[in-house]
């Protein structure tokens, strides 16, 4: 297990410019500075196309910033690494591996012994409610089940931080609500740093310790709202006045950005 204070993410004055093939330069992110302490569940909301995925990919090491720097526990990020687990919106299980082998994929690459990684996978599958599905192939699972396996697979590497890019965005609303509760349960148990991206305001407030609201492209941090709602959180939270007040606040912030993103009417 990682030390208790591992998983401190610092993003300092990061900018990303994409070069289109025609040579045009597009600024996706501008002057992003964020500090996420260990074990925090930080959520980023923003209009679509504002650079949320780009930001998460920088932390994952899949893209490089054009300016600025990102460190995890003081170490600069140079490329992808197993200490930063990621769950994508699209279904990314390996279709040729069983559920069990999918979860074991990371530990297997690391050379973790078969017995140990099998035990780890079993425990995680139990935790995400998929005990009994070890030998199923991804094509036999529903969307929600696939994302639960993807979460277990990311956790099997015992990462310091979990990066989630709209992981429940493709699920129906009932399934999504269940997945949010499942994620909170897992987070409360493992207590890892989580950087969660969404464009769903309810989801952001329900999950987050803090919600960072981004501007339309080029993405900047427009506001940071601490979410001082009690934990553990359940579905009844959604109907409380405190939740409604926060939701109004985030909605007002995002509405201006959505209008900007949509362009002149």
């Amino acid at each position: 297990m990682a030390a208790n204070d591992a998983g401190a993410l610092a993003i300092e004055q990061v900018a990303v410019h994409f070069q289109s093939r025609a040579g045009r330069s597009v600024t996706a992110l501008e002057d992003i500075t964020l500090s996420i302490p260990p074990r925090q569940l930080a959520v980023i909301v923003g209009p679509s196309g504002c650079g949320k995925s780009t930001l998460l990919r920088l932390v994952a090491g899949l893209n490089r910033p054009s300016a600025g720097r990102i460190t995890l526990d003081g170490r600069p990020i140079k490329g992808p690494g197993a200490e930063r687990g990621m769950v994508f919106q699209s279904y990314t299980l390996f279709p040729w591996l069983t559920v069990q082998r999918n979860v074991e994929f990371g530990p297997e690459l690391k050379g973790v012994a078969a017995a140990e990684r099998g035990r780890r996978a079993q425990a995680l599958l139990q935790e995400v409610g998929l005990a009994g599905f070890e030998d199923a192939y991804p094509s036999q699972l529903s969307g929600g089940m696939m994302q639960r396996v993807a979460l277990a697979r990311a956790l099997a590497n015992e990462p310091e931080i979990l990066l989630m890019d709209e992981p429940f965005g493709a699920l129906d609303s009932q399934t999504r609500a269940l997945m949010q509760e499942l994620l909170l349960g897992i987070w409360e148990h493992h207590h890892k740093t989580v950087l969660f991206i969404t464009h769903d305001i309810d989801e952001a407030i329900f999950l987050g310790d803090v919600v960072h609201v981004m501007t339309a492209r080029p993405g900047r941090i427009k506001a940071t709202l601490p979410i001082d709602l009690p934990r553990p959180r359940g579905p009844e939270l959604l109907t409380t006045p405190a939740f409604a007040a926060l939701k109004r606040e985030v909605m007002a912030l995002l509405r201006a950005e959505a209008l900007a993103a949509a362009g002149p009417a």
């Binding site: 994952a60 197993a82 390996f94 990371g106 993807a150 990311a154 990066l163």
Partner: protein, 262 residues
């Protein structure tokens, strides 16, 4: 009530089979009518009975098996060589832009060339032995396979590759443990399709200086207007093609049980 005229609507399996059988039987009926009825001269169209007789003769004397064997050697050798090269190259071409940049102009040019146009050069360069016949099958399938498999490789989701990196995979591991298996179903499907195309090149392959093979048998029968033997050759090629297709189908189901589409 079954609505046959509604597009994209399922019909019962029994009806599906019955329609197919009806089509085959009508064709056979038309053949019988034309040949037995004397509407067409025998040196234009042999009767079904004559074709069966020619087949029986070929089986009894063993010459038919000799022809089948020769053709199978040519087809399988040409196809295997092409596949052995096209599968790895195609996978690289679809996922590495540098490989694509190198290969695209060549394949783009070669894929539209009729293989028969290359036969004179093949004869000059590698003679008229079995190598030349294998080369015809090779050239007929290789470039098509390359393009189809490159496309399979290009369609592997970028997120699948990226998630592998975040799980700790190196570049080499991403290629061997993710890209390769992810391509397998598409590779199998396209090998199956191009195997069918390889059969269509058989007669062209056996056009020059052959002394056995189904293509040769057909070409040879043409000189004597032996339409029974010509038709026999056509049916045998069709049946063998069907058989290899079935084998590929079973192989895919057996090798890749996790990939559902058939």
């Amino acid at each position: 009530m079954i609505d046959l005229l509604a597009p994209k609507t399922e019909i019962p399996a029994g009806l599906h089979l019955a329609l197919g059988a009806a089509a085959l039987l009508s064709l056979l009926g038309l053949w019988c009518l034309l040949s037995y009825g004397g509407y067409v001269r025998p040196d234009f169209l042999a009767t079904p009975g004559q074709v069966l007789l020619a087949g029986w003769k070929g089986v009894r004397t063993g010459t038919l098996f000799g022809h089948i064997y020769s053709s199978l050697v040519v087809i399988l050798a040409g196809f295997a060589l092409a596949s052995l090269l096209a599968v790895p190259l195609g996978i690289l071409m679809g996922s590495f832009q540098a490989v694509a940049a190198v290969l695209e102009p060549i394949t783009g040019f070669m894929r539209y060339l009729p293989v028969s146009a290359l036969i004179p050069l093949l004869i000059l360069w590698i003679g008229i032995g079995i190598e030349q016949k294998i080369a015809v099958i090779f050239l007929g399938t290789f470039f098509q396979q390359l393009i189809l498999i490159a496309d399979v490789s290009a369609r592997v989701s970028k997120d699948l590759i990226d998630v592998s990196y975040t799980l700790g995979a190196s570049r080499a591991q991403v290629v061997t443990r993710v890209l390769l298996p992810a391509c397998l179903p598409g590779v199998m499907d396209n090998l199956r399709v191009t195997m069918g195309w390889a059969w269509t090149y058989l007669v062209v392959a056996e056009l020059v200086a052959a002394n056995s093979g189904l293509g040769y048998m057909i070409l040879n029968a043409m000189r004597g207007l032996f339409t029974d033997v010509i038709l026999l050759g056509i049916f045998v090629i069709g049946l063998l093609g069907l058989l290899t297709d079935l084998l590929f189908k079973l192989l895919r189901r057996w090798l890749l049980p996790w990939s559902a589409s058939f």
